[in-house]
Symmetry: C2
Subunit: 391 residues, 2 copies
Amino acid sequence: MSIEAIDFFYLSMPVVTDAGDGSQDALVVRVVADGIVGWGECEASPLTSIAAYVAPMSHGACKPVRDVVLGKPIEEPADIARLAADIEMECMDLLQAAHTFSGIEMALWDVLGRKRGEPVWRLLGYKKAHAKLPYASQLFGDTPEETLAGCRSAREKGFRAVKCGWGPFGRGGLAADRDHLAAAREGIGADGTLLIDAGQIFREDVDAAALRLAALDEFGATWFEEPFYGGAYASYAGLAGKQAKVKLAGGEASHNVHMARQLIDYGKVSYIQIDCGRIGGIGPAKAVADYAVERGVTYVNHTFTSHLALCASIQPYAGLKDHLICEYPFAPKSVAWDMSETHLTPDANGEVNVPHAPGLGITMSTAGLKRYLVETEISVKGKVLYRTPAL
Amino acid sequence: MSIEAIDFFYLSMPVVTDAGDGSQDALVVRVVADGIVGWGECEASPLTSIAAYVAPMSHGACKPVRDVVLGKPIEEPADIARLAADIEMECMDLLQAAHTFSGIEMALWDVLGRKRGEPVWRLLGYKKAHAKLPYASQLFGDTPEETLAGCRSAREKGFRAVKCGWGPFGRGGLAADRDHLAAAREGIGADGTLLIDAGQIFREDVDAAALRLAALDEFGATWFEEPFYGGAYASYAGLAGKQAKVKLAGGEASHNVHMARQLIDYGKVSYIQIDCGRIGGIGPAKAVADYAVERGVTYVNHTFTSHLALCASIQPYAGLKDHLICEYPFAPKSVAWDMSETHLTPDANGEVNVPHAPGLGITMSTAGLKRYLVETEISVKGKVLYRTPAL
């Protein structure tokens, strides 16, 4: 079979604020091959990723994603890997291409799984899918009281792990950060798993980040995520070398396998966090998971949007029993929830199970998608290159 | 003064082919502050980079470039650096933002230089601008005879250095590659500088690339550029460790300072090649030049487009006397030539001198720009976010 159609749907809340909440809009991809429909989702900036799909070619190594993928054969996983390699060469100079292709790649796995009646994690070579411990991913409150309330709410909803990130952390003094950490620990409870995300606030400043280690250890944080710019490997390695119990996590910005490997090899992180909507989809994410296993690093998904993205993000490490922690969008905006009819809700044990249904195992909601659809049009030389397609 | 206006102009040849020739289209930026007009150029995929400028915000760390830059104060070089830091944080999840901002950043330096009556290289701290040895950058011919003709033509036009890249190199057998190298050496002459660009053809395969080292040494190549994916540092380091006279070059894909540093630190390249139209402009490129000097690595510009981009690309290392080699678009398409009234033509000695005029020292051609202008329109929710502005 060949890839017959690829359609992008830009969804958004009516109002998008500048909070660090990635669930306010979405770019969903529908792929059709041999009449089978698969779905995927690209992370970040829907309009820009659509442009990378339809842009006129600049030269042989700067083609639009469409020219590399549409109409190509898709019979088995190796075909998806070949397309990914073609993207790397033929879209070499189109920076946004990795994000655009990510959603398409997910949808191709969904198509193949549906065609074969197999869940994607089985196509990836896993015999069994293990339950994951979801952490409620949320922003720090503006005050420690708000942070406490957020973490307590997560615990009351059955979450045994919580991640607090961004917001005021690292922007005020040490004492303020310590108050937030104390509040987060109190909220999730003494036996809960506490994860902290600094949102790159320390840029490259190892000393400033190191000043927070004592409080992170005092309140038993499991990991300290993205203290620095994603590419500041020397800073990561410098902080990893300090005496602390808390481990470093990072990797969400990786837009190819190399970047994730580098953060492991040179940045010395203990947790590698991969967003399938950015790294080029599920295949490269699985390659990172394999690499992490070989090096004693723990793989974690990065997901802040829909349950389609969540389900895709678990596939690459579904079969890794010891890689337990899973990012779970705790309080997504309604666009992220409504776009699918099915969701991955935690079981009675508070754990998340990836579907055993064919493909990604998520049923999309046409009504939900329509409700948030953003009409978009791009034309060049008077010719319409993109217009929001019909659902 | 503040940044009053930023306008993007998408230019293109009437027909764009899939040759590896980056001069077939262009994205030019015009910035106005306090009535002073500055110009810059973004590398690669004009439509996608425009979209990254106007895209609706996705969240606090995924803003369009416009929201971070337009209306902001611009009085001195520190203001440009501050904007670059803001872009890194506020456009963190917008991959294409680095390419979009690159052209704006160049134009801001042009504005500041014009305002102060100083060339940009002096604003960067250089006391003197040294002449550079331009190499004629061209593609390998389809046959060794074509490669010979191309290199001979460069020599006849006064070039003492030539770079051959892409085309059939690495795609056929060893003997074919050797024939092309022999032809290139014959064409540029025994005393000429010969540079070879593999265009990432060996992906991560150190052994395949290493098989070419003997012929590269036999024909006296100075550098072997991008044998691998830009991020495959371990492959670069592996090849750098082989016994060969030829040195490794790379770095053109760097879209931030970290990536360039990493290729030096982990990839062990001897020449770091920076495209100011991708790395975020002239400021980050200067930071790479400083870093290279400290580590005994030679800085080289990467430029395959206009003389505006060429002039911007020389600024970061204009004052580095020993960093002599300079990429020079040898046979650009007419769009790249016609957009400016002034050009950096080699002097009687065959060397290129960066202008002493204020700013970047390039005078743009309104007629030339108009000739290649591509009418483009982007609308979201019925509102026009971008329409080709007036020149």
